[in-house]
């Protein structure tokens, strides 16, 4: 088996999911200058809501094909997450709009803890197995395997991101979002209701989070009330790697981080003679975060801070 190719494939799949989550961080940062640390929890809620819907459908005995059940789970999770994202901004961040930056940051961590605990009460502490609803037929390419689920995740993520880019760059709403990100006061002078734009930004980011939550649970076959924490941190790292506030950067950062992490996990064993194993996978994301913050804090595609006036 070709380790490099295999880990590259795994990394692209993982990276596509990271990218979807990273977009939520970067869009909110771009407009509010706020790191929404509760975003990972929105992913988690999306996964668990979808899981509940799927369990109900499977348990009900209605004969639906697996992909249809998964799609229904996602279709319920998305509006739930969108409403949650809207509510988080409305309740937790909007009252702090003029406050020093530390206040909303601490609030974000508070919201994150709150959502974890609510999820723990609702879904319990245990790991839930996420049923395999999509065919995982493996395909051999050049000594590596690639299954249908992986192909599907990458294609869906690409489609969602293409749709997002189209909204941001081709529509009146997207233009208002970009204008607001650059100068909210002047955007207001143009007739843009900033509060609406901010709400929509949270809602779109949360819809992407729901998609990512269902993907990651389906991919690993498991969902858990704490799953959003590490995923959120990694997606945040991806957003920083790409240049926080930059949409294309979040996509690139997510993909790169997934690949770096997978290659790292694949090679760390052989390179250390088996001393360190692939469970050190998580180290790589944070190594990347530290390196970016030290050597290129603006990220790969980020503008210099001076241009953000």
């Amino acid at each position: 088996m070709d380790i490099f190719l295999q880990q590259l494939i795994n990394g692209v799949v993982l990276g596509a999911i990271y990218a979807l989550v990273a977009l939520g961080y970067t869009m909110v940062y771009g407009i509010l200058g706020l790191i929404n640390f509760a975003h990972g929890e929105v992913v988690m809620i999306g996964a668990l809501v979808a899981l509940t819907v799927i369990q109900l459908l499977v348990g009900s005995g209605i004969a639906l094909p697996g992909p249809a059940i998964a799609a229904l789970g996602l279709l319920v999770a998305m509006p739930v997450c969108m409403a949650l994202g809207y509510a988080i901004e409305r309740v937790a961040y909007r009252p702090l709009r003029g406050a020093p930056r530390l206040a909303p940051l601490i609030t974000a961590i508070g919201v994150s803890i709150l959502l974890q605990n609510v999820a723990m009460i609702v879904w319990g502490r245990q790991y839930h197995s996420f049923p395999a609803l999509l065919p995982a037929t493996p395909h051999q390419i050049g000594g590596a395997t690639l299954n249908d689920l992986q192909i599907f995740i990458v294609l869906l993520a690409a489609a969602v991101m293409a749709a997002l880019l189209a909204i941001v760059h081709r529509t009146r709403l997207g233009r208002a979002m970009r204008a607001t990100a650059q100068n909210p006061e002047v955007a207001g002078l143009m007739g843009v209701n900033i509060n609406t734009v901010i709400s929509i930004t949270f809602v779109i980011g949360s819809a992407l989070a729901a998609v990512a939550g269902v993907m990651i649970s389906a991919y690993y076959g498991v969902a858990h009330y704490f799953m959003g924490f590490m995923l959120g941190l990694k997606a945040f790292t991806a957003a920083v790697l790409g240049g926080i506030g930059n949409i294309a950067g979040a996509m690139l950062g997510g993909l790169l981080l997934g690949v770096i992490e997978s290659l790292g996990a694949g090679y760390i064993g052989p390179l250390t003679g088996g001393f360190l194993g692939s469970h050190y996978q998580d180290v790589f994301a944070f190594l990347v975060l530290i390196l970016v913050l030290v050597f290129r804090p603006s990220g790969l595609l980020g503008e210099r801070v001076a241009e953000r006036s």
Binding site: R175, A176, E185, V186, A187, G188, L189, G191
Partner: protein, 234 residues
């Protein structure tokens, strides 16, 4: 058309505007002059809905608009070209102009207005696909004015339109301001360049330390010895 009574505004913890009365009649070009920090920009921001007045009332076209947000006022024909121009540097020239027409639904007339702005400022037409951040200061000021015109304002507030521009460009901007006024747009202008501003205006106000110290017709202000000494550099 616009009337402020007893307007007080604080900005950054300072009482920048300490109870002023100000009026702009339909079709007028009115200038507000004064030194740096006199409270001119703060006044404009409050009139345009960017700052909430601490006291006083603002009436526009007969209705009370005190503390109404800017995004509502622009829909009612009150636009502000902010100090420092405020162009969206990473949006193209065309996208900036489209932002000006953000709250308009009349597509056909918006398209016609694009052409009018490009006719008025041919430089913008040449650069329509460029990010606005790549324009020169003068071009950015043209863009900021053109963008405000895209909202079809009845009342246009201009904050320091000549600031930081080369003398030739200042002339060009003032020609544009006169032309806009002749087309029937009411204008309230805040300017450092008091002479040029008053020469273009019908009336003027002199502001000092948050209060209005003089209000008169522009020709009389130009002839006023105090004004000549303090603001016209004589």
């Amino acid at each position: 058309m616009l009337e402020a009574r007893g307007l007080k505004v604080s900005y950054g913890g300072i009482n920048a505007v300490k109870g002023i009365d100000l009026e702009v009649g339909r079709g007028e070009l009115v200038t507000l002059i004064g030194c740096n920090g006199a409270g001119k920009s703060t006044t404009l921001k409050a009139l345009a809905g960017l700052l909430r007045p601490a006291a006083g009332r603002i009436h526009y076209n007969g209705s009370d608009i005190t503390a109404r947000p800017a995004f509502e006022l622009v829909r009612r024909g009150l636009a502000l070209v902010p100090e420092g121009r405020g162009v969206f540097g990473r949006l193209t020239v065309e996208e900036n102009l489209a932002m000006g027409a953000y709250s308009r639904r009349d597509r056909a007339r918006v398209d016609a207005d694009f052409e009018r702005v490009y006719e008025r400022f041919p430089r913008l037409a040449e650069r329509r696909r460029q990010p606005a951040g790549t324009l020169s200061g003068g071009e950015q000021q043209m863009l900021a004015i053109g963008r405000a015109l895209m909202s079809r304002p009845q009342l246009l507030l201009l904050d320091e339109p000549s600031m930081g521009l080369a003398p030739l460009m200042v002339q060009k901007i003032f020609e544009t301001i006169r032309a806009i006024a002749q087309e029937g747009v009411t204008l309230l202008l805040v300017e450092q360049n008091a002479r040029l501003a008053l020469e273009a205006s019908h009336r003027g106000y002199v502001m000092d330390s948050g209060v209005i110290t003089l209000a008169d017709s522009a020709p009389r202000l130009l002839g006023n010895p105090q004004v000549r000494q303090a603001y016209l550099g004589e």
